[in-house]
Structure formats: C-alpha cells, structure tokens
C-alpha cells in the first residue's frame, strides 16, 4: 500500500471515529430532549415515537433553568477574569525570570490538577467556611473556581510570557516608552492569544464545574451542572437531563471553535517580525 493511500485511509478512520465520538452522543441528546411525555421512548424503538419541544418549554417555564443560566453565565466570566488577574503575576515570574528551581515551580503549579475535584471541593469549602466566605455564596464560588482553575491559567500565561521577545521590550524602552506603553507594544500582542485561551478555558471549566458549585452553592445558588445533577441524580428524568446537557454543551462547542480560531491567528511569523 502506498504511503499516500495509507495516509488517506488513516484520515478517513480518524474522521469516522471522531464523528462517532461526537455525533452519537449529540444525536442521542437531541433525540432524548425531544421525547414527548405522552409516549415514552422504549428500547424496542429506534426513534422516539412522538417528538415535541414539550421538555424544552417545560424546563424553561417550570424549573430553575432561567436562574441557573443567569448564575452560571455570571459566575463563569467573573471567575475567568479573576483567575486571569490572579495568574498574571505568577505567570510573569515563571515566564520572564530565570531563577533556580523554575522548572520545578512550573510543575508544582500544575500539581493541584491531579487531585480529584470532589476532594478539592470538600476541603476547599471547609477552608472557605473558616474564612467566613460562605455567607456570600456567589463570591465564594467565584473565588473557588478561579483558584481551582489557576493551574491552567498559570500554565497558559507562562508560555505566553515566555514568548514575549526581550528585544521588543528593549526596543520600546530605547525609544522612550513608559512601563505601560512597553506593556502595550511588547507584551500585549504576544500575550493576547494566551489571555483569550485562559479566559475561555477557565470560563468553560467554571460553567461545567459541579462539585464546588454544589457543596458551597446549594441550596441558594443553582448552576446548570447542579440542575443537571438534580434532573439526573435525584429525579432521573432523562429527557430533562438531555435538555440541560445540550444547553450546557452547545455554547461550549462554539467557544472552543472561537478559541481554535484565536490560537491560529497567533501567527508565529507575525510575532517574530522577521521575514
């Protein structure tokens, strides 16, 4: 078999696997969300016997979905911005300064990710209670989310800070630029893709986070994942869960596509300034 043939075969296989991986769960979620309560979708039928938007309308009107959407979509961007601000100084130090143990420090920053989320959530909430932050639940969740996803933010921004070229900083300085002008002309263009990536990743992680939102937030604050949990875990209404899953996942898919576009626009030739 020629190399080109093997190559195209492999591409077809990868596309097929990806389609199955994505298309089947999505199709199932869409179909389940359309199941009409008048007639259940039993295992002997390929498609739901009656399809309608009843579940969508019902969830919208009779559950805390509206409230969950508002809290999820206000928690996530706030946590993303706070996470970005908290990660900046550490990433700057890790990306711009040479010091003994720098690589170890980078590794240590990633370490919290290996702890299972529920364990972190339980201990983190205990910490928040001790700090007295539990009284303002929204703030507590924002704080917890931004801290929890800090490893991602620090890692991404460290790489961005490493990409800032020293000669651009020096050139700006040589031409009389103030620290702020230096940041705008030398740092910001190199940091932009990293900043967008950090914001999006923390946003997506925060939207999907369940453990902390559940432990700290309930019963006052309902987010989409906690609502999803009650639909699936407590009541086990699969069509309702399907509606919530789609609401949760569709915006994330679009955000990931935007992220991909942003990453691609970070053209390395553009940042090098050399032809």
């Amino acid at each position: 078999m020629s190399y080109a043939r093997l190559n195209s075969l492999l591409i077809v296989m990868i596309v097929t696997v990806a389609l199955i991986w994505l298309a089947i769960p999505f199709t199932m979620a869409i179909l389940w969300s359309l199941v009409d309560p008048a007639e259940p979708w039993t295992a002997d039928k390929l498609l739901p016997p009656v399809m309608s938007f009843y579940r969508w309308v019902d969830m919208w009107e009779n559950s805390s979905l509206k409230y969950a959407l508002i809290s999820s979509y206000s928690l996530a961007p706030t946590a993303a911005i706070l996470g970005l601000c908290l990660a900046m100084p550490t990433a700057f130090a890790l990306g711009r300064f040479n010091f003994a143990g720098r690589e170890l420090a980078k590794l240590l920053c990633l370490l919290p990710l290996v702890v299972p989320p529920f364990i972190t959530a339980i201990f983190f909430s205990a910490l928040l209670f001790q700090l007295g932050l539990n009284t303002w639940r929204f703030g507590a969740i924002v704080f917890a989310h931004s801290i929890l996803f800090l490893p991602y933010a620090i890692r991404i921004l460290t790489v961005s800070f490493e990409n800032v070229r020293q000669d651009h900083i020096d050139a700006a300085r040589d031409l009389g630029a103030s620290p702020w002008a230096r940041f705008r002309v030398a740092y910001l263009p190199a940091l932009k893709p990293g900043i967008s990536a950090t914001l999006l990743i923390v946003f997506i992680q925060s939207i999907e986070e369940f453990a902390i939102a559940f432990i700290i937030g309930s019963p006052d604050i309902v987010t989409i994942p906690t609502l999803l949990y009650s639909a699936l875990g407590q009541d086990f209404v699969r069509p309702n869960a399907a509606v919530l899953s789609l609401i949760l996942v569709v915006p994330n898919v679009f955000l990931m596509l935007i992220l991909e576009r942003l990453m691609r626009s970070a053209n390395p030739a553009l940042s090098s300034g050399k032809g």
């Binding site: 020096d170 050139a171 300085r173 031409l175 103030s178 002309v185 300034g273 050399k274």
Partner: protein, 347 residues
C-alpha cells in the same frame, strides 16, 4: 568636547569579567566600530552605553553629561538591533512614529521627520505594510529609520547586518555610512566582521577578553597591527618569530627566522631579543627574492589567487593577481622591509 566619554568602565557577571577598566573617547560625528570575537565584551559595552546594563565601576558621559545611571528610556541614544526588533503588529509608519509619540513630539513635527527619513531610506511605498511583509533589507531600513527619526546624539548598532545575505550586506553597509555622514551622527557599531569594520569606520576599537587591544583607523590597523591577536583577527597575516641579529644604518633591522633573514624598517626596542613579525599575504612580491616555498594549496578567489606555501615545515600564505601558479610549483618571493611589522607581545 568628546561626544561620548567612557572612563574606567568595568563590568563583571558572577565572577566573569566582561569588561575591565575600559576608557575611550568618541568624537562628534565619528563612526567608531567595536570589533572582536564573540565574548570579547563588545555587546556588553554597547548595552552599557544604551543603558540596558549598569557598569560595575566607571562612568559614561554623553556631551559632557554623566549618564551612567540614567535609564535607557531617558538617554539620548538610539539602538539598531541585530534582530531589527520591529513591532510585528504595527505597520512601518507606526513603527517609525512609535518613539516620537513616546516623546510627545507634535503631530506636524512627527509627520515631517517620518516623511524625511522614509524618503531618505526609500520607504515611502512601504509605510502601510507590516514588518513580516518586508524583506530583510527593508526591515533593516525600518529599524534604522526608527532610530533616525529620534535624532539621537548617538546611534548604536548591534551587528545590524548579520541577518542579511552577503550582497545585501554590502549595499546596506554603504547606506548606513552615507546616512551617518549626512546627519553627522556619532555612531558606535558593533561587529565581529572585520571587513565590515574596515569598510565603514573612522576608527576601530579591537577588543579581546574585555580589554582594548588597539584603537586605530582602519588603514593603520591593517598596516600596523600592534599584537598577534590584531594581526590575526584583521585580514590574513603571516606570523613568524625570530631573533634580532643586526641593525643597519638605514634603520633596518634584520631578524633571523626559519624563513631566513627578514628585514624590517619598524623600530625594535631592545636588541638581541626574540620578536614576532607579521606580513600581509598580498605584500609578497613574487619573482626574485630571498625566500622560497612550494605551493601546497591553491584557491582561486576571483580578483586574486590564494597560495599556501610550505618551506622548512612552515606554512605561509601569499595572495597574487597571477592565476598561473599551480600546486607543486616552487616560487621565490621577497617582502619589503616596510611591509614587515614587529608585533608586541599579546596581553
């Protein structure tokens, strides 16, 4: 008053002495080149002059004013970077204007200066392009233009031509020199390329191990290298040691070497001393003469032919316009006493 005065400048990094007790005056409008191998301290010196490094000891003044502790953004110097360091997201015009905006130069002044420099450098048609749409030579010109619009007292060049190909390098070399003369700029130019240094400079400072080895005009430096290091670093040189044997009345000294007796018209301090001599390959006169050698290698270089000769286990190099000579031939040659330079001991 000298445009730049450097006094007893030293710089060390974690025990490594990059510069030691360096003193130098640069005159107004002078094109001075710092030449030396990698690690000789030339870039360190440039960074100290531009303000990016602080010296361990010593002082620097520009126009009589001490600027040793003045940060780079407040110095009246402009640096042309080896990598050009153009801001990739700004177009040529914005790159050129950047420094003037930082210094809050009025819009009219800014436009006038930018258009003047753009015209001088042939950049008028490139103003709306981004740096990555330009060739290496054009980027170099933008980098030079960005420094020129600032009208600095001193312009500093950090190996600006090292990223260009050979032909373009020759062209930009001429341009830099022309612009420096047109604006009567005081320029300090760092390079490790001796031909660049010889072609562009009013004076060359040869550096080695953080110290000045020789400061001279290009012509003097080439014709009268002081040490073995300078002779070897600038141009091709045949170096030979010998013992001084006699001094004749016409101020000629004879030195006994493995090649035979070599006469030099250059002054030797003490008699009966071992000395090191240097003569340039193109100074040998082929034909009659006291010296001979067998050609072991021949390299045709276009305008001249390089011949490597061997005699008494010694290798030396001769350059001639005559391309008839072939490997294996024995040739005789002479060297004029004026062309034989007596070197001082290194260090």
């Amino acid at each position: 008053m000298a445009a730049i005065g450097i006094r007893n400048l030293s710089k060390s990094f974690d025990g490594f002495q990059a510069l030691s007790k360096f003193s130098l005056d640069v005159q107004q409008g002078e094109f001075l080149t710092l030449l030396g191998p990698s690690g000789c301290g030339k870039t360190t010196l440039l960074k100290i002059i531009s303000g990016f490094l602080e010296p361990s000891t010593g002082s620097i003044s520009i126009g009589g004013e001490d600027i040793t502790r003045v940060p780079p953004e407040n110095r009246d110097t402009a640096l042309c970077f080896q990598s050009y360091a153009l801001f990739p997201h700004l177009n040529v015009l914005q790159n050129l204007e950047f420094g003037l905006k930082q210094k809050r130069v009025s819009r009219d002044q800014r436009d006038a200066r930018v258009s003047e420099v753009a015209a001088k450098l042939g950049l008028e048609t490139q103003l709306s392009k981004l740096p990555n749409q330009l060739s290496g030579g054009q980027q170099q010109r933008v980098s030079l233009g960005r420094a020129l619009v600032m009208r600095p007292s001193v312009i500093l060049f950090d190996e600006p031509l090292s990223n260009l190909d050979a032909k373009l390098r020759d062209q930009v070399r001429v341009e830099i020199r022309r612009i420096q003369q047109d604006y009567s700029l005081t320029a300090i130019y760092v390079t490790h390329d001796q031909s660049e240094a010889l072609a562009m400079s009013d004076r060359i400072v040869v550096l080695n191990d953080g110290k000045i080895v020789q400061v001279d005009t290009p012509e003097q430096l080439y014709a009268q290298p002081k040490t073995r290091f300078v002779a070897d670093f600038i141009g091709g040189a045949n170096l030979i040691t010998g013992r001084v044997c006699s001094q004749t009345k016409e101020n000629l000294t004879s030195v006994e070497t493995l090649m035979g007796q070599i006469q030099t018209s250059h002054r030797i301090n003490k008699s009966s001393e071992n000395v090191e001599l240097c003569w340039r390959p193109e100074r040998a006169q082929i034909g009659k003469g006291p010296y001979c050698g067998t050609i072991v290698h021949r390299a045709f270089q276009g305008q001249f032919t390089d011949l490597i000769l061997e005699e008494n286990d010694m290798i030396f190099r001769i350059q001639t316009n005559n391309d008839r000579f072939r490997v294996g031939e024995v040739i005789t040659f002479s060297i004029l006493p004026d062309d034989v330079v007596v070197l001082e001991a290194d260090g």
